[in-house]
């Protein structure tokens, strides 16, 4: 069975390479026969990848421990959902998942053929198939998931306790899907440049660059990458000891950087589609986003950057050379093509005014790229320094917080501006008029917060700016609805409904901005006002933390499949009434003889009460780590709204 999986991978490699060559040759020589052949080979490659994934899944489900990968990531006591998730728990499996997503996406773009200019489409398919080929090559040469043990072990090692969390089921696949989806904007942007070379003039290029499928693909990529990051943050938050929801670890940063660049790309794409500007930006950013996704894989899997959290050895894995080769190759090709087509990528309109949406978008892109570059620099700083000076030195979290704060706040301010600025030109008076109510609301909120006792200047400023941006989005919507109701003699509610139906893309985007602001509330609240204390209690004793009286009622020991659970019951009292209970626990995993701490969280709209059973002594006395994270729930609510808003913006228009 395992051999069949390997053969399927081999077939995938051969057919990907054949297909890429045939696509390239077919379009250069204008031979549709070759393109047809390439198309069927591409489908065959996709089928081969799917087959090898299914075979690995089958091996996992049948717990064939003779396969090294199955042995390392499953055990017979493991719940079935986590056996499935073992598919992406290891390096081999996660590369296979990457390849599978690439194959599915390629198959989808194959079906989209009529919606693209033929030349651009063929070049893009050639690029996608080459990327697939590289991943198939990695799987075959250095990360073969189908390697066998000499003998068949009786029991597998199983997943790490920390991985037995619902986060494991969804975080890696969604993140990989985001990475793989960025291949499409990358391939079609490069292909647009190549197709432009074939065409007689800039108009062919313009046609190639102005495609609505590109917007949908890049929005989807952005959505999945963002959700993947957010789910990872949630996982780190509920799994104790991973340092809260964000710890600026290289592995986390690696996924944030392409997302930030992808955000800048979306904005450039918007300006390009609406106004014919930012052409060079959007091409360069599409290429950068995907290259950074590959870089993220290189960071997590290649051992090229020493992560303090995720590994100590600086030994470079062989896979690093393949990925580095892919990055260098695509960067070199992209730079050459961009240079070649630089003067054809002219903005259709110039004459932009300082106070216009274009310049605000330019500023937004610059800030996003600056932020991404700063984080990237922080990541590669140790490696760079070691190469240049031979000293090993790191940047700690203080660096990231200092850089992130001001840039993120400027971006929030820009949301407020961008919403009310018009294309081409806005007079200062118009701007002030549109912003007067939001400013009043924001300043009032600032005063109220100050009176209520919020004295940290950073947090105060952040809340005021968030209120300003939220206010400007709401004010713009209300104003437009009011104008529409006057013009069309509709009721205000009817006008609002009609407005959001007719401008679904715009208001979907507004919803996404509101979601980002909501997440900002969660981030500022939990970062600025988090408290943490320790309670050392014997059973029956009580302690008080921030208005919560916590009583350590009892400790029970439960035997579960494969583990013993030590569950402490903490009664929560407000005054003398018991309002609830939290049950933090320590689990002993028998096969690994390892302890794992499971936190218990009480979430309200105001704050999260977070209890971890840090230490459990022989006499049942226990040390609890009790934290209060104000407003953090809005980070997750914002994530939900982000998903919703993006769906609204993505939903296809009804056929006319």
């Amino acid at each position: 069975m395992a051999q069949a999986g390997f053969i399927a991978l081999l077939l995938a490699l051969v057919s990907s390479v054949c297909s890429a060559l045939a696509f390239g040759w077919g379009v250069r020589a204008r031979q549709s026969r070759w393109v047809g052949f390439a198309q069927s080979t591409a489908l065959f490659a996709g089928a081969a990848v799917a087959a090898s994934t299914l075979i690995l899944l089958w091996l996992l489900l049948s717990r064939d421990f003779q396969v090294q990968y199955v042995y390392a990531h499953t055990s017979s006591t493991q719940p079935i959902a986590y056996v499935v998730s073992a598919l992406w728990a290891g390096e081999e499996g996660s590369f296979l998942l990457w390849l599978l997503f690439l194959a599915i996406i390629t198959a989808m773009t194959l079906l989209q053929k009529p919606r693209w200019p033929a030349t651009q489409w063929s070049y893009a398919m050639a690029i996608l198939m080459s990327v697939q080929g590289v991943f198939a090559l990695i799987l075959i040469s250095v990360h073969n998931p189908f390697v066998l043990h000499v003998a068949r072990p009786l029991e597998g090692a199983g997943l790490l306790p920390a991985l037995l969390n619902p986060g494991m089921l969804i975080h890696p696949p969604i993140l990989f899907l985001g990475y793989a989806l960025y291949a499409v904007p990358f391939a079609f942007s490069l292909a647009g440049l190549m197709a432009g070379l074939e065409g007689s003039d800039a108009s062919a290029l313009r046609l190639a660059m102005r495609q609505s499928p590109l917007r949908q693909w890049s929005l989807m990529a952005w959505l999945f990458l963002g959700l993947g990051i957010l789910i990872g943050a949630w996982w780190a938050y509920v799994e104790l000891g991973w340092g809260g929801y964000w710890s600026w670890d290289p592995v986390e940063n690696a996924s944030l950087v392409p997302w930030l660049v992808g955000t800048a790309y979306l904005h450039a794409l918007l300006a390009e589609a609406r106004h014919g500007t930012f052409k060079r930006w959007s091409v360069a950013l599409a290429i950068a986003a995907f290259t950074l996704c590959i870089f993220a894989t290189l960071v997590t899997r290649g051992g090229i950057i020493v992560s303090p959290l995720h590994g100590f050895s600086s030994s470079i894995q062989p896979v690093a050379f393949y990925l580095l080769g892919l990055i260098l190759c695509s960067t070199a090709v992209s730079i050459c093509l961009l240079r070649w087509r630089w003067h054809s990528l002219i903005d259709e309109r110039e004459g932009e005014h300082l106070l216009s949406r274009e310049s605000a978008l330019l500023l937004t892109s610059l800030l996003l790229i600056g932020l991404a570059a700063a984080i990237l620099l922080g990541m590669i700083f140790p490696t760079l320094l070691q190469l240049l000076q031979g000293v090993q030195m790191y940047l700690d979290n203080a660096f990231y917080n200092r850089v992130f704060g001001p840039l993120a706040l400027s971006l929030v301010f820009l949301i407020a501006l961008c919403t009310v600025l018009r294309w081409s030109v806005t007079s200062p008076r118009q701007l002030l008029r549109a912003l007067r109510y939001p400013v009043v609301v924001a300043v009032a909120l600032g005063i109220v917060l100050f009176v209520l006792g919020v004295r940290q200047p950073h947090a105060l400023l952040a809340f005021v700016l968030i209120a300003l941006a939220t206010g400007s989005i709401v004010a713009e919507f209300v104003h437009s609805a009011w104008r529409r109701s006057r013009l069309r003699h509709e009721s205000l509610a009817g006008a609002a409904w009609g407005l959001s139906r007719s401008g679904r893309r715009r208001y979907g985007a507004r919803l996404v901005h509101l979601a980002i602001l909501l997440m900002g509330v969660g981030i500022v609240g939990s970062a600025a006002f988090k408290t943490e204390s320790r309670l050392i209690l014997a059973p029956g004793e009580a302690g008080t933390v921030k208005g919560y009286t916590l009583v350590y009622e009892n400790l029970s020991v439960l035997s579960d499949i494969g583990k013993h659970r030590f569950v402490a019951t903490m009664g929560i009292y407000q005054g003398t009434t018991r309002t609830g209970a939290l049950r933090p626990e320590k689990d002993l995993y028998l096969n690994r003889q390892e302890l794992s701490t499971e936190v218990a969280i009480l979430s309200t709209l105001r704050e999260d009460l977070y209890i971890a059973l840090d230490v459990l002594n022989e006499d049942d006395t226990a040390i609890f780590r009790v934290s209060v994270f104000p407003l953090i729930i809005w980070l997750w609510v914002g994530g939900g709204l982000l998903f919703l808003g993006t769906l609204v913006a993505l939903w296809p228009d009804p056929p006319r």
Partner: protein, 170 residues
Amino acid sequence: MLYTVLRCNRVRSQKRIQRIEKAIPVMTTQYQATTHSKRWRRLGGSGIIVLTIVYLVASSTRGATVYALSIHELKARGSDAYGQGVRVGGTVDGPSIAWDAQKQVLEFSLVDGQEALEVVYHGARPDMFRDGAQALVEGKCQDTGVFVASKLLLKCPSKYEAAATQTADH
């Protein structure tokens, strides 16, 4: 009646087109005259923003750097290393572990080859902390030669590196 309205409309729109067409050459010349300076203005504006970001990044690195040293290198630095942010890695020496659960003080030796370093860590004992564990400590070396760690990171052998560690923040 309807015909007249339509006709009027057409005449009006034709007039509008003529008006726009007349204006186009003016617009183009204006455009050509301004485009150069606008381009420079835009480049200048972007340049200022980029420089601001670069300054922000550069100034943020100050005081945020941590040296990564081996135990041997740390000892070789002697008194120079006192009070400086340092990160050191090694293996936890089992017999040396002394854990005071009441005060939450963890004392142990970190071994790297021949050299050993005494470490004091205030905080909870991580779940995976045991003899032979790979540990990374971040903190400062005191003049007594004892390393006071503010961060203790552990690694356990696994392929899924993203999950292979547990950290405990002070």
